[in-house]
């Protein structure tokens, strides 16, 4: 069975830590978890994994980040890897950006900060099954 990766992107390590704990707590070793502090690093990781033959199953990305914004990042990913499920996790996002992500990146869902573990897990589960 090939490893399936959940990639979390947020410029706040604090958020990444939380996500890691929540995901591991719920899904345990079911998935491999990768973290990136910005879109550029995330894109690098995706490329790296793709070379290894590992698929990224789902991306949970913050919207407001230095450099490439969340919606833009997801659109880029969608162009190359349309199968990856994309989730926005944001404290504050313009509706326009969210709409753009929905239309152009086939955004699965947008979670608002502060979020609950339940909300996160449900989103991931619904994303995986769809």
């Amino acid at each position: 069975m090939t490893e399936q990766v959940i990639l979390c992107v947020d410029d706040e390590e604090m958020v990444l830590n939380s996500l890691e704990m929540q995901l591991k707590d719920h899904f345990g070793d079911k998935y491999v978890y990768e973290f990136a502090e910005n879109a550029e690093d995330a894109l690098e990781i995706i490329e790296e994994l793709d070379e290894e033959g590992t698929d990224v199953l789902i991306i949970v990305s913050d919207w407001l980040m230095p450099g490439i914004k969340g919606d833009e990042f997801l659109i880029k990913v969608h162009e190359k890897f349309p199968k990856i499920v994309k989730v926005l996790l944001t404290g504050q996002a313009e509706q326009e950006a969210v709409d753009r992500a929905i239309n152009q990146a086939n955004l699965h869902r947008c979670i608002h900060k502060p979020w609950s573990a339940k909300e996160l897990v449900e989103t991931i589960q619904s994303g995986v099954t769809s």
Partner: protein
């Protein structure tokens, strides 16, 4: 101010005096000139009249002499003829011999005693007579008769007429002569060979030269015997067409001059000449006259002046003639008798001199009166104008100084009944009105000042409110970003709390099982692992963690453990980034996954706690900044505050806008806290940081510096944005000026910055270069 006013008052008098003086002087000069002209023309008339009268009188007077001489000769001639014709035929030889003596030189002359003086039988004295009979004269009885008669007549008439002319003489064509001449024995002095008939005066009386047989006058000639210059009047005495004798009278040049030339109008001179142009007397031509032996003819003289006079005299019939050519008048009269022209030449310069003298007198009089008038004017001006003016000045100054009391106007010449008096009364009433006005005004000013103060207070209030509302607007713009700033830590806290609770539950359940599977030695290793994890202080970035993962994976592989991503992640999560191989006993344990699961869950508890702590710190920091920023200090007092704290507050609020793409450089020098309004300064930093971020579109470098320059604390905020175009540099501090789209900015930001900095007595320096960025420096006094 005072000296200047006094100065101007002085110059008023001076100006009037000078102006009046100049005017009067001009009038005096004009009057003098007119007088001069008037006097000149009047004098001309007078002179013409005077000359006319003078010459007429003079002519008559001079004529009288010559007429008398002529008349006397006529009387003499008539008497002689009467005596001669009534004579018997006796030869008066005895009588003749008593009178004449034969001289050795061949001449016969009267005895000298008749000249020197001899008592006569009748008691009378005979003297001053001399006689001469030429050498070759045949003395006939007739000659004797004639000579005796002439002797008697000369003895009788000579003394009688001597007051008119100096002499009288009787000459016959036979070269005999008897003369009565006091002081001059002419016939005794005459040389022996003398031919009297050749003398001019005799010559003129002969038939050839005097066909009319009239009394004639000679020109000027020199008598060699008498050694004198003279003119002579001669009358021929004829009987039956034959010249018997000639009676003559001399007029000496000296006498003539005395009479005609020496007596003249002052400055004028007289000339006498004959009809034929021969000069008889001329005061300036005496030498020439004598040199030419009396034959001085005007027309041949070459003297143009004289020639012109002569011609004018001959042409004009007027008595007084104006000679324009020589600028003179002359008056002409004819002396009856010799028919001489008597001319008085009167130079016009005399007139001018006279007129000039008069004009000068008028001028001097004028200057004297000018001085008197100016002095009088000065006195009048001082008393009538300058003094009242000074009084007015004093009153004005008193009133200007705000003194409306009676003393201000008491010196004014109120009782005067002229314009100054009226002015004083007007001034007085004006002062009264001013007093009333000022009193009213004072009340009004107080009232208005109070109103104004209210307004100022109101405005200050409004300004404070405006500043506050602008601050709130800025806050409003920040809130969205701040929400994110707060929500992020909140999310982390929530998730960490959840992890904590579930992790604790699971761990507690698994602990008994763990201690069952682990040997004592393995338990020690497990606790060492936990200890290692808890003591790990090194925090790696996400990227570094990925690198550490690879290190751990390599170590595990080296220890003969197959690739296990979960295991690697666990090490990283535990904070163990190297030397994973020391835990080989655990790694090779059959329950390895379970052991590491528990270890991970235990570390999660610590990590969650740490995560919560970090998140709370972050959230508190934001909330604190927000609270600090939003505070509105109403006290209005300055407080000692650290500039760095304020700046940090603002930078915290803008953290989420800065961190994505902006390099923030902080250069803080240590400076003491300054007395300021910290809340208001926060607004200054907010506005400038906000503008800076917008100018660089949230990408680039933002440099915030605190330094000290002289007695100022300097806060510089420098962006790497677009810069401010030159054409709007002057406008950026104007209220409601904005470059932002409607709704984005109020345009009040920098206006408020300026107001707040002004309130701190600070300064703002702006340096901006298009395309490179802008630097705002706020200087606040320490």
């Amino acid at each position: 101010m005072l000296p200047k006013m006094f100065q101007s008052q002085n110059s008023l008098t001076r100006t009037i005096i000078i102006k009046m003086g100049i005017r009067i002087a001009i009038i005096i000069i004009a009057v003098t000139l007119v007088s001069y002209w008037h006097i000149t023309s009047n004098l001309e008339l007078q002179v013409v009249e005077q000359l006319d009268k003078y010459i007429t009188e003079r002519g008559q007077r001079e004529s009288t002499l010559f007429q008398l001489v002529e008349e006397n000769q006529r009387v003499f001639k008539k008497e002689f003829l009467f005596r001669y014709q009534n004579l018997d035929d006796d030869d008066p030889l005895t009588r003749f011999n008593q009178l004449f003596e034969k001289r050795k030189d061949g001449t016969t002359r009267l005895y000298p005693k008749y000249f020197e003086g001899i008592q006569q039988a009748d008691g009378g004295i005979t003297q001053n007579l001399s006689g001469f009979i030429g050498q070759n004269v045949n003395i006939t009885a007739d000659i004797r008769r004639i000579l005796v008669i002439s002797y008697d007549m000369l003895n009788m008439y000579g003394p009688a007429w001597n007051h008119i002319a100096p002499n009288i003489y009787f000459t016959t064509p036979e070269n005999t002569d008897i003369i009565y001449w006091p002081g001059k024995a002419w016939d005794l002095e005459a040389p022996a060979d003398m031919d009297i008939t050749q003398e001019e005066w005799f010559d003129m009386s002969d038939a050839a030269h005097n066909p009319q047989r009239e009394t004639v006058w000679t020109g000027l000639y020199y008598d060699k015997v008498a050694k004198k210059w003279m003119v002579s009047c001669v009358t021929p005495i004829d009987i039956e067409g034959r010249q018997i004798a000639t009676v003559g009278t001399d007029i000496l040049l000296d006498d003539l001059f005395k009479r005609t030339l020496d007596v003249h109008l002052e400055g004028a001179y007289n000339i006498i000449f004959r009809e034929d142009g021969r000069i008889i007397a001329h005061p300036n031509k005496i030498k020439e006259l004598q040199k030419q032996e009396g034959l001085f003819k005007i027309l041949q003289s070459g003297d143009q002046h004289l020639i012109h006079i002569f011609k004018l005299v001959k042409e004009s019939k007027k008595v007084v003639i104006e000679n324009h050519q020589n600028n003179e008048y002359f008056a002409v009269t004819k002396i009856d008798g010799p028919d001489w022209y008597f001319v008085t030449v009167y130079p016009k310069s005399l007139l001018a001199n006279l007129a000039f003298d008069t004009a000068r007198f008028i001028l001097l009089l004028g200057i004297l009166s000018l001085f008197i008038e100016v002095t009088v004017l000065l006195l009048v001006l001082r008393r009538q104008v300058a003094q009242p003016l000074q009084d007015f000045l004093g009153a004005t100054q008193q009133i200007a100084a705000g003194n409306f009391n009676v003393e201000a106007t008491q010196n004014l010449p109120l009782s005067r009944r002229d314009e100054i008096g009226e002015l004083a009364q007007s001034f007085n009433s004006m002062a009264g009105q001013l007093k009333t006005s000022f009193d009213t005004l004072d009340g009004k000013v107080i009232e208005k000042t109070a109103q104004l103060n209210d307004k100022i207070e109101e405005l200050t209030q409004t300004r404070q409110e405006m500043i506050h509302s602008e601050k709130m607007a800025a806050l409003g713009q920040l809130v969205a970003g701040i929400a994110h700033e707060v929500n992020t830590p909140l999310g982390a806290i929530r998730s960490s709390a959840e992890s904590l609770s579930s992790g604790l539950k699971q761990t507690l359940e698994q602990l008994p099982k763990l201690f069952q599977v682990l040997t004592l030695e393995q338990q020690e290793k497990f606790f060492a692992l936990l200890e290692d994890s808890l003591q790990s202080k090194v925090t790696l970035t996400v990227k570094e963690k990925r690198a550490a993962k690879k290190t751990i994976a390599a170590e595990l592989k080296k220890s003969g453990i197959e690739k296990n991503r979960v295991l690697t992640d666990t090490f990283i999560s535990l904070g163990i980034y190297e030397h994973a191989d020391q835990y080989l006993s655990l790694l090779k344990h059959p329950h390895r996954d379970f052991i590491f699961e528990v270890a991970y869950q235990l570390s999660t508890l610590t990590r969650s706690t740490g995560n919560i702590k970090t998140a709370v710190d972050r959230a508190s920091k934001v909330i604190f900044a927000l609270k600090t920023f939003a505070r509105f200090d109403q006290s209005g007092d300055k407080t000692a505050s650290n500039l760095q704290d304020g700046l940090e507050t603002v930078l915290t609020l803008y953290y989420n806008q800065i961190k994505h793409g902006v390099d923030l450089i902080k250069e803080y020098e240590k400076i003491p806290p300054i007395q300021c309004y910290p809340d208001e300064l926060n607004q200054v930093w907010t506005n400038i940081v906000h503008n800076a971020l917008q100018a660089m579109e949230h990408k680039g470098t933002l440099k915030v510096a605190i330094s000290q320059r002289d007695s100022y604390a300097v806060v510089s905020i420098t962006d790497s944005g677009n810069g401010i175009p030159d054409d709007i540099k002057d406008q950026i501090f104007m209220p409601f000026f904005t470059t932002k789209a409607a709704g984005e900015g109020s345009g009040l930001g920098l206006d408020i910055v300026k107001k707040i900095v002004d309130k701190h007595d600070g300064k703002i320096e702006v340096e901006s270069e298009l395309g490179k960025g802008t630097s705002f420096s706020i200087l606040l006094p320490l």
